[in-house]
Symmetry: C2
Subunit: 298 residues, 2 copies
């Protein structure tokens, strides 16, 4: 970065021969987080993680983040400080500068809009549209752990963030995305933010294919306390895993950059998405994560 906060625009210098990636995501109070459930630092972490996860899903390198914050007039300063600390701590893990943004008074709750700019060698971005019949389907890490913690929060349980990192501090899979892109392992990729059933459908639609998921192979997540809670439904429909979902026609290592990689099914010619349980196949309904409300959030 050449110029950061303090001029009309930030000036970024992407590596030579790279294209520029841009992603923008809201984190809205009572939609994406609740102040009584989520400490400010976790809200900040999750806010930036959403953007970084999109960069990871293209196989990209993050260059800079921009944060627009609208805050209620009566919000305590320490909440804001903790929130910013959460953003900056995660940013520092990727040597990512916070290069600009805007701040304003909110008429409602806390509203954060994170924008992450990244780069990828020209023509090498891993899109959603590259899957073809016969490709295997893989996920990084485990699924459903974040949704399981959310289920406990909904029940009124108080959770300590450090006991539930999958929910409070998901780690964007930048390194895995980079390796998959460099080694040309992934034909299509997306991050799982809305739930596997929704995000797999995006790959199938963009690629003009279908998919068969083997239910027994789903890597069920969860921390010690939530592990018993996580069932197939959490793994298929739970949101905010921020794992990568990708397709490949090559031999894929079982572990990349310290993250386990699991084959969960295959891409099919027939344009429907099914789940196989033993010998039976059923259509996979899209029951994505609806955040906390019935809102229009995407």
């Amino acid at each position: 970065m050449r110029v950061g906060i303090g001029d009309d625009c930030a000036v970024l210098r992407p590596p030579r021969g790279h294209e520029v990636l841009v992603t923008t995501d809201f984190s809205l109070e009572d939609v994406h987080f609740r102040r009584e459930w989520h400490p400010a630092e976790a809200v900040g972490h999750r806010c930036l993680a959403r953007g970084l996860s999109d960069i990871a899903a293209m196989g990209g390198e993050p260059l800079a983040a921009f944060l627009s914050l609208a805050l209620p007039g009566d919000l305590e300063q320490h909440w804001v400080d903790d929130f910013i600390r959460g953003v900056l701590k995660l940013a520092s893990k990727f040597k990512l500068p916070l290069a600009g943004g805007d701040i304003a008074q909110s008429p409602g709750g806390v509203l954060a809009d994170i924008m992450v700019v990244g780069s990828v060698p020209q023509g090498k971005a891993v899109l959603r549209s590259g899957a073809s019949a016969g490709d295997r389907i893989y996920v990084t890490g485990t699924l459903g752990g974040s949704a399981a913690a959310l289920a406990l929060l909904r029940q009124g349980r108080k959770l300590r963030p450090r006991d539930f990192p999958q929910h409070f501090a998901p780690m964007p899979r930048i390194e895995v995305g980079r390796v998959l892109r460099q080694k040309k392992l992934a034909t299509a990729m997306i991050d799982i933010s809305d739930g596997l059933s929704v995000d797999l459908r995006h790959i199938c639609e963009e690629s003009g294919v279908g998919a068969r998921i083997d239910a027994r192979r789903l890597p069920l997540g969860g921390e010690p306390i939530t592990r018993r809670l996580v069932n197939e439904s959490f793994a298929l429909h739970g949101g905010e895993d921020y794992e990568l979902l990708f397709t490949s026609r090559k031999q894929v290592p079982v572990n990349i950059a310290g993250v386990p990689i699991t084959c969960i099914g295959e891409i099919t010619r027939e344009r429907r998405v099914v789940v196989a349980r033993g010998g039976r196949e059923t259509e996979l309904k899209q029951r994505g994560w609806e955040h906390f409300t019935e809102g229009v959030s995407s």
Copy 2:
């Protein structure tokens, strides 16, 4: 642009040898606009104009816009349609694609966050920090017209947007900024969004200089109805002009790309900003535009 809405990130391909410019600006209901004062189409236009004006102030070329929108659940669809039309109409003037964004339900009023990505040949961005003593100070167009219309709105007057384009449909000075950069005319530049007194101070602080403004030279703006209203105070402190303020040590044309250019003073060694009226000089107080509220908006 290679990939727009529909993948994890937008993929942009800046011209070879260009750096990337990024700017982000909130447009918040009851802070930057009021639904009873501003038709949705004007809100959309002004929202994008804020971002484009920042690109213009660097001498940049806009590449793509990203819009994050949080909308109250009970907002009429036609308001949203009109807002988007306002954004797209202005975008089309600059052949600018709307390449992504986010949409969510707002707990309060309408919240829009616009991000504009642009580019500029490497090392050629016009910064705020390049002014030196002896440079002349220039502004494009006229000043105070937008604030004068706002004053009428505050008095309860109903205004027809087409009668007050300086307020409802300001035109970002992309073409002027480009010419100033190409001809190396500007040593420092900023856009006037918060009022001349505030924005000139930014140039002085970043450049480590002072300034003397000649009050008689200020190009007072205003449409036929507001012209009598616009006084020196509106021109010095009124916000949302979206004109360019720049310094130069060369001969500057009186008109660039159809926009009048006016010399309003000069940069001084002494680090203070003064206004000269006849033979008397007084310190220029920073009384920038505070939007509609006493908020923390920047």
